[in-house]
Amino acid sequence: MNMNRRTFVGAAATAILACAAAVPPAIAQERSSVRIGYVVSQTGVNAAGATTTTIPNYELWVHDVNAAGGLRLPDGTQLPIEVVAYDDRSQTEEVVRGIERLVNQDRVDFILAPWGTGFNLAAAPLMARFGYPQIASSSIVPPIPGIHERWPGAFWLLGTAEDYAHAFAELLTTQKQAGALNGRIAMISIADGFGIELAASARKAFEEAGIEIVMDRTYPLGTQDFATLLSEAQASGADAFVAYSYPGDTFAITRQARVSGYNPPIFHTGVGTSFPIYPQMAEGGVEGVMSLGGIDVNRPEIQDYIRRHQEVIGKLPDAWASPVIYSSLQMLAQAIERRGLDREAVTQELASGRFETILGPIQLVDNAPRDLWYIGQWQGDHFVAVAPAGREGSADLVVPKPGWN
C-alpha cells in the first residue's frame, strides 16, 4: 500500500471540492444597492502610483455619492454604492482573475478600471467579453491600430501621447519665435511604457516643429542617480530640458538638477511633478517647473474638489490624473442617471453623451477626451495649467524658469 499516492488522491478530491465550493450559484435578491467593484494594485510595484491617484479618488467618489443618498437612477430613485475591492498585487494574472471574480462571483453592476496602461490592456478583452464599460482614467490611449473597433466599451481618459507632445512642441515653438529659446532640447525618458510612448511622440512632434533634439537618452526603471545624465544635458547646449519620468526618478532628477545648478529656461519632468509632495521632495524652489497635466485653480469646482479630497482622504490630490479620475466617475454616475443600470446603454451614453464634471464639460471623441490640460507649471503653491494656451482658465507661462532658490 503506497501511502503517498493514496493521500494524494484524497487531497486532489479535496481540491476539486474546494473549487466547486468556491463557485456557489447566484442568489437572486431584491436590489438594495449598486454593486461596484475594482481590482487595483494595493501592494507591489504599482502600488506607489495606484495609491496616490486611483484608489483615493475611487474612495472619495463613493463617499461623495453615498453621502448624497446614492446613485440616482432614471426613475429618480437612489441606491447606495456597495464596493467590492481586490488587490491585484501588481500581477497581471491577478487582474484577470479578479475581474473574472467580480463578474461571475460577486455579480457587480459596474467595474472601475485598474491602474496603469498595461493593466488596463490586460483587463480590456475581459471587460469587452463580459460587456462592462471600462473607463481607464489612469491611462493614455494605447498605440494599437483599430483599438476602438476592438474594444468599443473602453475609454481612455488621459488622452493620447500625441496630444501632449504637440501641446509641448507648440509651446516651445511659440517661445522660440519670441526669442526666449534657442530651439534645442535635451530629452531623457524612462525605459518603460509611459516614457517610451511619450518620447516617441515627442520626437515626431519636435521634428515637425523644427526643434532640434541634441540629447536623447533612456534610463531603466529604478534609476536614482542622475548625476551623469544631467551633466550631459547641461553640456549639450540645449535650453529646454524634458524628462518623461516616473515619480521616483522625477524627484531624483529635480534634486540632482538643483544640486548641479542646472537651471535651463524650460525644465519639464514627468509623472510625479504634479503630486502635492513634489515641492517638499524637491525642498521648495520648484517655481516654473513644468510637466503634464495642470489644473485651473480658479475654478470653484476644482477648489471644492481639492478641499473635499483633503478632508475625506486626508491628503491633497495630484494635479494631473486625480481630477481626471474623479471626473470620469462623475461621467459614470451621470450616464447611470440617464440610462439606468443597463451596461450597454451606459456604454453608449459614455461614448456619445456630454457630461458636467469638475474639469468642465467633457464629451469624448473616439473614446478619449479632446480638451484636457496638457501642460502645467508650478506657479506659487499650485501646479497650474498653461497649455493649450488661450483656453479659458489657462495661466500665463513663466519663461525663463526662475532659479532653484
Binding site: 501592494t43 510595484v45 502600488a47 506607489a48 495609491t51 496616490t52 525605459a191 537618452r217 533612456t218 534610463y219 531603466p220 529604478g222 534609476t223 536614482q224 542617480d225 548625476a227 551623469t228 545624465l229 551633466s231 550631459e232 553640456a235 515619480p247 521616483g248 524627484f251 531624483a252 534634486r255 540632482q256 538643483r258 544640486v259 548641479s260 545648478g261 509632495i277 517638499q280 521632495m281 524637491a282 525642498e283
Partner: protein, 286 residues
Amino acid sequence: MLLSTLVFGVVLGGTYALVALGLTIQYGVARIMNLSFGEVVMFGAFATFVLFTGASLSPVLGLFVVVPLAFAISWILYTVLMRPLVKRARHPERVEIDSILVTFGLLFLFQGLFTQAFGSGYTGYGWLQAPVEILGARVASGRVLGLGLACLIGLGLWAATTRTRWGLTMRAVATRPAFAALVGIDENRVARQAFALGGAIAGAGGAILSMYQPVTPIDGGFLTMKALVIVIMGGIGNMGGALAAGLIIGIVEALVSYAVDPGLTLAATYAIFLAVLLWRPKGLFA
C-alpha cells in the same frame, strides 16, 4: 566630463561600500546569509525619517538612536530566529538553506510592515542638499558626508579588528570556525555580536541614505542584491575588499551609464559579478 563621472562613481560607491561592509561582517563571521539585510537598511532610513519629521532630530544626531536600535533588532533576530536554526542543523549546508529561507520571510514581513506604516510611495525629507564642488563635479553634500562616514566607519572597524582582542576572536571565527571552539571562544556569542554589529552598520547606512534620497518599502531587496555582489567580489568577510569592491562597482556604473547606456548598468554589474565568480570565486583580493 570623464573626471566628474569618476567623482560621481566614487561617491555612489561610498554608499554601496558602507552597506556591503555590514553584510560582509554578518556573513563572514556569523555565517548567516541574511537576505533581509536591505530591510534593516530601510529600517534605518525610515527611523531617521520619523525622528526628523516627528521629533525634528537632525539625521546625524539620529544616528545615535538608529544605530543602537538596529543593533538591538539584529541581536534579537539572531537570538530568536537564527540561533535555533544553527542549533538544530546537522550540517552547515542545512543552516545556509534554512537561513536563506527565513531571511526571505523576514524580507517580505518587513516590506509589508513598512508598507503598512509608510505607504507604498516615496518617503523622504530633504536635508544637506547644498552642493559641494569636487574636481569640477557638483555633488550633494549629503552624499559626500555619506562617503566620509563610510570611510570613518570602515577605518574604525579595521582598527577594532586588527588592534583589539575582540577583533582577534572575530577574525578567528571568520577564518577558522572549527578551531575557534578549541581555543575557548564562545562561537555563538561572537556570531551574535557580529550579526548585531552588521545590522548596526546597515542601520547607519540607511540613515545616511535617507539624507539624500527618498526610499520606498521595496528598495531593500535591490540593496541586498548589490551588497551581496560587492561582498562576494571583495571576498566574504574581507572588509577592505568590500570597501574596494563597492567603489569599483560605483565607478563602473557611472562609467557605463555615461559612455555606454544607462540601461546597461545592471547588466554591467552582473557581468563583473559573474566574471569574479568564475575566475576568482574567493574574491578579487584573496
